[in-house]
């Protein structure tokens, strides 16, 4: 909403407020002023000129040589390129030395050999957007009506010396969608009176009801319809002050009748429509629901197909307007119009929204109906328009109004006690102060004991409950005056849940291990939605995605991590270690919330460790990732419950990928990105992991208790085993553990060999075994006995021989 400072000052005394001061006060009281524009501040030296003569430029077809009276003794010669310039016009002249918007300076010039002492201006050259220029001047220079004097300040005559406040209105404050509404707000802020117009058109001739009859067939949608008839109007431009104020409010001037309906719309917030009475033909207005499939040509010459949830104004036979949205081409006011019907009605917000949405027609009028207009202004706005048409279109207002329906809702009464008000705000206001605030708002109040009852005017439909009164008091009392306190009463211990703490532990662990945390998008393409997923389901889709790239919910964090690694790799950052924690979404059926699982995923590619001048350089491999996962499990106290099993999921290298098991149940995957996929995104060898973080964190409940350090020495035995190449280390380890019993406390692989010195199809795996008895010193014999058992078991279960 654009508010002209000059226009506003008609209704409330703001002479002592600069536009900036006013803007700040309005903002602090609740309606944000996004900007204050002062057009004249960017211009100077622009006066009214009178074109005394115009002749063709001797050397240029498209230029005119004009002699212009600028209020001085001698007229000045100006070369003008506008097609519409002519003798006898009053125009805006930027004199030599003038400045136009954009710091455009006017200098004396010679154009094709002819001297030019200034420039005749169009409205857009004076900073008015061309979409707001009256059509006849949009392509050329502007002509003043004849009531100006050469030499006077053209910017003042055009109301360019105004200040325009741009209000950003929240949906609850549609009351400020009118000059009167803003006036009430400003009056409340400044503690002043509002001066409203009191329209009282001079009526003459026959009663209006003889010229038109009105019937409402859809009273739910249109409870009240008021019309006036103005005869013998002369269509022409509206007065300059009205045109310029409309442009300052962001409305394009058309002709006097249309401008007046728009002027009253901006003034009262009540949308009006002017029909050419004679083009209605039947002398009748009938308001009804549109028929399904009914055709109607709106005044923008577009044919619309209507439906039964839209409301039309008809002449009893055919539609003449789409109610509250747009008039019809068949009944619009044009240059030949003589008799005008002014419509002022209350249309239901929903019925107007249906039509404006269906046809994509958002207008100043429909926006106001949708938010709800003030029913108490329907009649006054109609009178106001009639009065202005009599004055500025030379018409005769017929006697009386034609009214159909009735809509005068009782103003709401809302009560609140002073105590409740003060306890909600944390203030110590007195009743007198509260009453004063409501009187500034021009709300009637009644006070009984501790309780104040406020009669809320119909213009403020947003106030319905006691808390709304609290807000009015708070914003006008001033939030700056509310003290700073902290909640009283029971104090609670704050903190993270064990799960949330665990998540942080995992993050810090990975960051300490060298990973940077990534955050990627949850929405992805159809192709990526289920890629690398631990559990593949029909991906969950958005109903109306904005792009194919963001149309589905991800089932794995990995696709976007691969994308991030490729992005970095393409920018000379070939060594990447990224991890992410986040949700994936599993389809549970239509209209059922998807299952959200928190995952931990990561990608490593390039060099993992390097210390170049000492010749150390280690590329990331499968065991780098595995070590990281094992470390995480160790940090969470889950080491013994995690295991790895060769697996061949899609998207991974079939020989270098493992399923991660937790308590024997699948909980994740680690492995090399399939080389052909890596090639597609220009990545070198890359390793991925994804784990069900929620499963791990929910299981990770370590009750830390100290285990005594063994007091007796341990005995170590190394064994090198020869087994078939296909035998996995994990199998040997399991056999050793089972056979070793409780004395065997530690076991690890220290060498693996497969090659020339081995028989084909065989490999050697060497283990270091540590035996301890916590209760006494182990003897060699005891260890040997256990060790023999271990070797026998290995022989029996894995055909493992001791390496010679």
């Amino acid at each position: 909403m654009f508010v002209s400072y000059k226009w506003l000052s008609q209704y409330v005394d703001i002479a002592d407020q600069t536009p900036e001061e006013l803007a700040e006060k309005i903002t602090r009281a609740g309606i944000e002023v996004e900007g204050v524009e002062m057009p004249a501040a960017q211009m100077k030296g622009i006066v009214v000129g009178y074109v005394k003569s115009r002749e063709q430029h001797p050397n240029a077809d498209k230029l005119s040589k004009c002699l212009v009276d600028v209020g001085e003794e001698e007229p000045v010669q100006i070369i003008c390129g506008a097609k519409n310039v002519d003798a006898g016009q009053y125009v805006a002249v930027a004199r030599t030395g003038a400045v136009l918007p954009g710091n455009f300076k006017i200098k004396r010039a010679k154009l094709r050999g002819e001297e030019s002492n200034g420039m005749i201006c169009s409205l857009s050259e004076l900073g008015i957007e061309s979409r707001l220029n009256p059509k006849e001047y949009a392509e050329g220079i502007f002509n003043f009506p004849n009531d100006v004097t050469p030499g006077e300040d053209a910017l003042a005559a055009l109301n360019r010396d105004d200040a325009i406040l741009e209000l950003s209105l929240t949906p609850n404050r549609s009351d400020a969608l009118s000059m009167m509404g803003v006036a009430y707000e400003v009056a409340a802020i400044l503690g002043r009176d509002v001066k409203l117009p009191e329209p009282n058109p001079n009526e003459a001739g026959e009663p209006a009801s003889e010229a038109i009859q009105i019937r409402i067939d859809a009273p739910e949608d249109n409870p009240l319809y008021i019309a006036r008839v103005v005869k013998n109007v002369k269509i022409g431009p509206s007065p300059l002050w009205m045109q310029t104020l409309l442009m300052n409010a962001g409305v394009r001037p058309h002709n006097n009748v249309v401008d007046i309906t728009n002027y009253v719309l901006m003034e009262y917030g009540q949308p009006l429509h002017a029909f050419d009475l004679d083009r209605i033909r039947t002398g009748e207005i009938v308001v009804r629901r549109a028929e399904e499939g009914e055709k109607f040509v709106t005044l923008d010459d577009a044919e619309r197909t209507l439906s039964a949830d839209q409301l039309v104004i008809t002449n009893g036979k055919e539609a003449v307007a789409l109610a509250g949205v747009m008039g019809g081409a068949n009944s619009e006011v044009n240059d030949h119009t003589v008799n005008v019907l002014i419509e002022s009605a209350y249309f239901d917000g929903q019925i107007v929204r249906n039509a404006s949405k269906a046809h994509g027609l958002r207008s100043e009028a429909s926006a106001r109906f949708e938010k709800g207009v003030d029913p108490s202004r329907v009649q006054a706005a109609c009178d106001r328009a009639a009065e202005l048409m009599a004055e500025y279109a030379g018409g005769t207002v017929l006697s009386g109004r034609v009214v159909a329906g009735e809509y005068a809702p009782e103003p709401k009464k809302v009560s609140i006690t002073l105590d409740r008000l003060n306890t909600r705000l944390g203030t110590e206001l007195q009743m007198g102060g509260v009453e004063d605030i409501f009187s500034r708002l021009k709300f009637e109040t009644e006070t009984k004991n501790d309780e104040i009852t406020v009669t809320v005017p119909t213009r403020r439909g947003d106030i319905t409950i006691p808390e709304d009164l609290t807000e009015e008091v708070a914003r006008l009392y001033g939030y700056d005056h509310i003290p700073l306190t902290l909640p009283e009463g029971e104090s609670l211990p704050g903190g993270l849940s064990p799960y949330q703490l665990g998540r942080r532990v995992v993050r810090r662990y990975l960051e300490g291990a060298g990973f940077n945390q990534a955050v990627t998008y949850s929405l992805t393409s159809e192709k990526r939605a289920a890629q690398f997923a631990l559990e593949v389901r029909e991906p969950v889709a958005l109903a109306m995605p904005m792009s194919e790239e963001r149309a589905y919910l991800r089932e794995s964090l990995l696709p976007h991590l691969v994308e991030a690694a490729a992005y970095n790799s393409a920018r000379q950052m070939g060594s990447v270690a990224l991890y992410e924690t986040g949700s994936i979404y599993l389809n549970e059926g239509k209209n059922v919330q998807p299952k959200e699982e928190e995952r931990l995923a990561g990608i490593i590619t390039g060099i993992w460790q390097e210390h170049l001048w000492q010749g150390e350089k280690k590329a990331a491999d499968f065991f780098t990732v595995k070590g990281v996962i094992e470390g995480a499990a160790a940090r969470l106290g889950l080491t013994d419950r995690l295991s790895f099993q060769k697996a061949t999921p899609e998207g991974f290298h079939p020989g270098r990928t493992a399923a991660v098991l937790f308590d024997e149940q699948p909980v994740g995957v680690i492995g090399q990105l399939h080389p052909s996929l890596a090639k597609e995104v220009d990545l070198k060898e890359a390793y991925l992991f994804e784990l069900k973080l929620d499963v791990l964190l929910n299981a990770a409940r370590v009750d830390l208790a100290y285990t005594p350090i063994p007091r007796f020495p341990s005995i170590s035995r190394d064994i090198a085993l020869v087994v078939d190449s296909t035998v996995e280390a994990a199998l040997l380890e399991t056999i050793i553990k089972e056979a070793g019993g409780s004395l065997l406390t530690n076991i690890h692989v220290f060498d693996v060999y497969e090659g020339d010195r081995m028989e084909a199809g065989k490999k050697s795996v060497a283990f270091a075994l540590t035996y301890v008895n916590p209760d006494k010193t182990l003897t060699d014999d005891e260890v040997t006995a256990v060790h023999e058992k271990v070797l026998a078991a290995l022989k029996e279960k894995a055909n493992a021989e001791l390496r010679a």
Binding site: L484, E511, P545
Partner: protein, 344 residues
């Protein structure tokens, strides 16, 4: 005999002093003091001496032996010291060469901000509540006083999955779910961090995915001044002790009254590009919980009141670290991420 001993002593002391290394010195020790050495030989020959001569001679032998031993020891210390000096000289390194790198990762800046805010409110007695990102229309809108067809739904352009399911547009549904769990009994004191989604085209200042932290306190006699005091404490801890807050009336369907909260700019009110010359930066939306919201969540709004607030981690991170484009948070460029590995 006496002379012979003197000569031996002189000879040995000279040889010890001349020894080039520990081995040579040891040879000297063995040659003169060893079991077959001349001093021992002299001692062995003492049996042949008379009873008067014997002690005299014994004392002399000891003197000689001690003198030789001392000479050897002195030389040994000096040789050992030389050897160490030599070894140390050989082992000398260039300490200015780079050390073996320890891989350092770090949290995402949005996580840093989230955890910092979490910790700050945890210190004030809050717990952290989380909830689903795909929500039912009911929890995201209806239970927050935004019935279907409410014009304010347009303020939050929404990704719908079905007419009843959507990507949550704020973390407020977590507040609703938490209140319902409390079954009408206060107090409730939570913050709700998480990802949210809006139908926005991604550009320098908009992202279809972003993060929010909302807070909710419900209790008997919770006041607007409590909201103000809480956010003032937050602003001072988050941005610095000299920062102040300013409340401006606003509108949210789920709070009444509603306010926008500005934090004073680091320029100290002089006006700069960050605050666009106003001295204030808009950081939070807040208000007193709307009685309809309390009632729908099972709280008696005549007994209970509450406040709620919400802020965006992206915006805070942009202000705090001077990040100029919101898309940086989702590109995962290592040159961006690695800047946040530093402890602040």
């Amino acid at each position: 005999m006496e002379e012979q001993l003197k000569q031996l002593q002189d000879e040995a002391v000279m040889k010890a002093a001349a020894a080039q290394d520990l081995k040579e010195l040891n040879d000297v020790r063995v040659a003169y003091l060893g079991k077959k050495g001349p001093v021992t030989e002299v001692l062995k020959g003492m049996g042949r001496l008379s009873a008067e001569e014997r002690p005299k001679m014994g004392a002399l032998v000891n003197v000689v032996r001690e003198a030789i031993t001392k000479a050897i020891e002195t030389k040994q210390v000096s040789l050992e010291s030389e050897a160490i000096q030599k070894q140390l000289a050989e082992e000398s390194i260039d300490v200015t060469l780079p050390g073996r790198p320890v891989k350092l990762g770090g949290p995402h800046p949005l996580t840093r901000v989230t955890e910092e805010i979490e910790d700050l409110f945890i210190g004030m007695g809050y717990t952290v509540a989380e909830g689903p990102e795909v929500e039912q229309d009911y929890y995201n809108f209806e239970a927050l006083n935004l019935p279907k067809g409410h014009p304010a739904r347009d303020m939050q352009d929404t990704f719908y999955l079905t007419p009843e399911l959507l990507m949550r547009t704020h973390t407020s549904p977590v507040q609703v779910r938490t209140m319902l769990k409390h079954e009408g009994k206060g107090p409730v004191k939570i913050i709700c961090p998480g990802k949210v989604y809006r139908r926005d085209s991604d550009d320098a200042t908009h992202s279809h995915q972003f993060n929010q932290i909302e807070g909710l306190v419900v209790g008997e006699n919770i006041r607007m001044s409590d909201l103000k005091g809480t956010l003032d404490a937050f602003a001072k801890k988050m941005f610095g002790p000299d920062r102040e807050i300013r409340l401006r009336p606003s509108f949210f369907p789920f709070t009444e009254p509603s306010v926008e909260v500005d934090v004073s700019c680091m320029c100290g009110g002089k006006g700069c590009s960050i605050c666009k010359g106003t001295g204030w930066i808009e950081v939070l939306g807040a208000g007193m919980v709307h009685p309809n919201v309390l009632e729908m969540a099972g709280f008696d709004s005549t007994v209970y009141s509450g406040f709620a607030f919400g802020m965006g981690q992206e915006r805070i991170a942009m202000l705090k670290y001077g990040v100029d484009d919101i898309r940086h948070f989702y590109t995962n460029d290592l040159r961006f991420l690695q800047q946040f590995s530093v402890h602040e």
